[in-house]
């Protein structure tokens, strides 16, 4: 540590080394496109029926027929991973989309009109933001019961205040521009100004945040399914597979390694995409 005193001041620069945002977007986009393709084409790609039980293949090691081995009930792990990916992506992406659809108008209204509209919306959403995400999700599911739709709803509600807050902040910044005042002066209605001028320019940071949150949503969904609170068996889900293989982890690690690896890759995909998008659409760091 004492050696740093003699280094040039450049080495004291903040944060990460600057990489081109295109690399991040390309890498993240490529990973996600591949995973999405696998998820969509699941019935065509999956080598076996993900739910068919085979007593002769219980905990079978990976081979040519079953590249990822088979699980406690002799089901093909590769096919289950493919279908599980489909379920996990469906829940997490639709949750974030639902959240975004609600958050955009709320954030726009709060940021554009300010005053009581802002304080009503912001204070209400702050109530959600106070508590940790996992605790909220578990509380939500404690009320409505386990299941993939409920899990998606819970995730959507949890991320609503975050997305709305980002949208509000970027609306505040955009609404200060002269062209907004000019448009109003020319007699445009509030609605018209919001839709044609404010919303398109304020949207960027919210999209960035949505991409970042998708990574967290995927982890949250996997966590809930792992606990038996998300997607319910026999429907395969990545988190559920991790729970099934827990008891046999040491004898048959393939039951756990492959679904886990897919989660990690998908999370990395969303993270890279979000990071790249952030550097292009949110240089001010509104979503930080």
């Amino acid at each position: 540590m004492t050696a740093t005193a003699n280094l040039p001041a450049k080495s004291l620069e903040v944060g990460t080394p600057r990489r081109s945002p295109r690399h991040f977007i390309l890498l993240g986009g490529l990973i996600l496109a591949l995973l999405a393709l696998v998820a969509i084409a699941a019935p065509l790609i999956a080598p076996h029926d993900p739910e068919s039980v085979d007593v002769h293949r219980v905990l079978g090691a990976p081979d040519l027929q079953h590249p990822f081995g088979s699980d406690v009930l002799g089901r093909d792990v590769a096919s289950r991973v493919i279908y599980g990916l489909r379920a996990s992506l469906l829940v997490s992406v639709s949750a974030v989309l639902a959240s975004l659809i609600l958050a955009v108008p709320l954030g726009l209204l709060a940021g554009y009109f300010g005053r009581w509209v802002d304080s009503t919306i912001s204070r209400t959403l702050d109530l959600i933001l106070v508590f940790p995400a996992m605790l909220l999700a578990v509380t939500f599911i404690a009320i409505l019961g386990p299941g993939s739709v409920i899990a998606a709803l819970a995730i959507a509600v949890i991320y609503l205040p975050i997305l709305a807050r980002v949208m509000r902040t970027s609306t505040l910044i955009v609404a200060r521009n002269d062209y907004v005042a000019g448009s109003r002066a020319r007699g445009a209605s509030h609605l018209r100004v919001l839709v044609t001028h404010v919303a398109p320019n304020a949207f960027g940071p919210a999209i960035v945040q949505a991409s970042v949150l998708s990574a967290f949503a995927l982890q949250l969904e996997a966590g809930l399914s792992f606990l038996g609170l998300g997607t319910q068996p026999p429907t395969p889900s990545l988190g559920g597979m991790l729970a099934d293989g827990r008891e046999v982890l040491i004898q048959a690690p393939w039951v756990e390694i492959f679904p886990g690896l897919v989660i990690v890759v998908a999370v990395l995909g969303f993270t890279f995409l979000g990071e790249g998008l952030r550097r292009i659409f949110d240089p001010r760091g509104v979503g930080e």
């Binding site: 740093t4 903040v14 578990v138 509380t139 966590g223 982890l249």
Partner: protein
């Protein structure tokens, strides 16, 4: 000083509505269950007499306001009700479960701070390779879900090396060494992600302080880097680091729900998950209440520590 006192009082008062809102939400859990929660709890073989009895015992046959007042009053007197499966008093159950959750989250946070803060300082002030290395650690720690990390750690340390138990628990009082052996893998699992967040925040906070003119001035005065970092940069970065630690306690408590289930640790998180799957609503309520209360108290302490480190916060200024 009086401003500081005013801030402390305001912050303490703010805790009351938070606890109130949280208690209402937890109270409503059982009331919001679609259909008849008592029938759901008892299963389809329950007789009408059983249902009426449990409904009466849970106070569900009174008006909502009476129910809340009765429930909250009992809570304040320390009467948390009974587990409907085991019939054990919930206060006693909680007293057994809380130490496990405290140990898990406490040790994880300690490890995360011990790793994250020094590495964050090095990342902000060190050379290129340490920046790259810490950046890789941050990406790894944030992207890898903790339960997958847990699985890998079990495979390595319990499966291949066979030096640690894969899961289980013994109380610290019974067997301190055994207890710590069981805690190593869960704590490593939880702490890795936290350390990454703390590292990132420390790097950012220390980095931005290091760019300020007064640091250049201190350098010009000939003060050594070590003294600048520990005497000035960390001192100024402190409030941001403490704030993140406070927020991350919430994430840790959430993560503990998964990690306790995964490593078979009998903590509060596992109590809640088992409770949800058994439709054991009183137990779920008490578990969630406990976790949320811990979080509210930790947030309070965090805010007070931040105000103490940076008196401008108490003036309403902020950093």
């Amino acid at each position: 000083m009086s401003r500081q006192l005013g801030f402390i009082l305001r912050r303490l008062l703010l805790t009351i509505p938070m606890l109130f809102v949280m208690s209402v939400v937890v109270f409503l859990i059982i009331r919001l269950v679609p259909g008849d929660p008592v029938r759901t709890m008892l299963g389809f073989r329950a007789t009408d007499a059983n249902v009426a009895e449990l409904r009466h015992r849970l106070g569900l046959d009174q008006s909502l306001l009476d129910q809340y007042l009765g429930w909250a009053g009992a809570l304040l007197r320390g009467d948390l009700g009974k587990d409907i499966v085991s019939h054990a008093p919930l206060a006693q159950l909680l007293a057994q479960r809380l130490p496990v959750t405290f140990e898990l989250t406490g040790l994880s946070m300690l490890l995360a701070v011990l790793v994250g803060v020094p590495l964050g300082v090095r990342a902000a002030t060190g050379g290129r390779w340490i920046k790259r290395l810490t950046e890789a650690f941050v990406i790894f720690g944030i992207s890898v879900p903790d339960f997958w990390l847990g699985i890998m750690l079990v495979l390595i340390f319990a499966g291949t090396l066979v030096i640690l138990p894969p899961s289980g628990y013994v109380p610290f009082a019974t067997d301190p060494v055994g207890n710590l052996r069981y805690m190593v893998l869960p704590v490593l699992t939880l702490a890795t992600g936290e350390a990454a967040y703390i590292l990132r925040t420390t790097r950012g906070a220390v980095g931005s302080v290091m760019n300020r003119p007064f640091i250049t001035f201190l350098r010009a005065k000939g003060i050594g880097t070590r003294r600048i970092i520990f005497g000035h940069a960390l001192r100024n970065a402190g409030p941001s680091i403490v704030t993140v630690i406070g927020i991350q306690v919430g994430v840790l408590l959430g993560g503990a729900i998964i990690i306790e289930t995964m490593f078979a640790l009998p903590g509060v998180g596992r109590l809640v998950v088992t409770g949800i799957n058994q439709r054991n609503y009183p137990t779920v309520q008490v578990g969630i209440l406990a976790i949320a209360t811990i979080f509210i108290v930790v947030s309070l302490i965090t805010d007070l520590v931040v105000a103490w480190l940076d008196p401008r916060v108490a003036d309403g200024g902020g950093t």
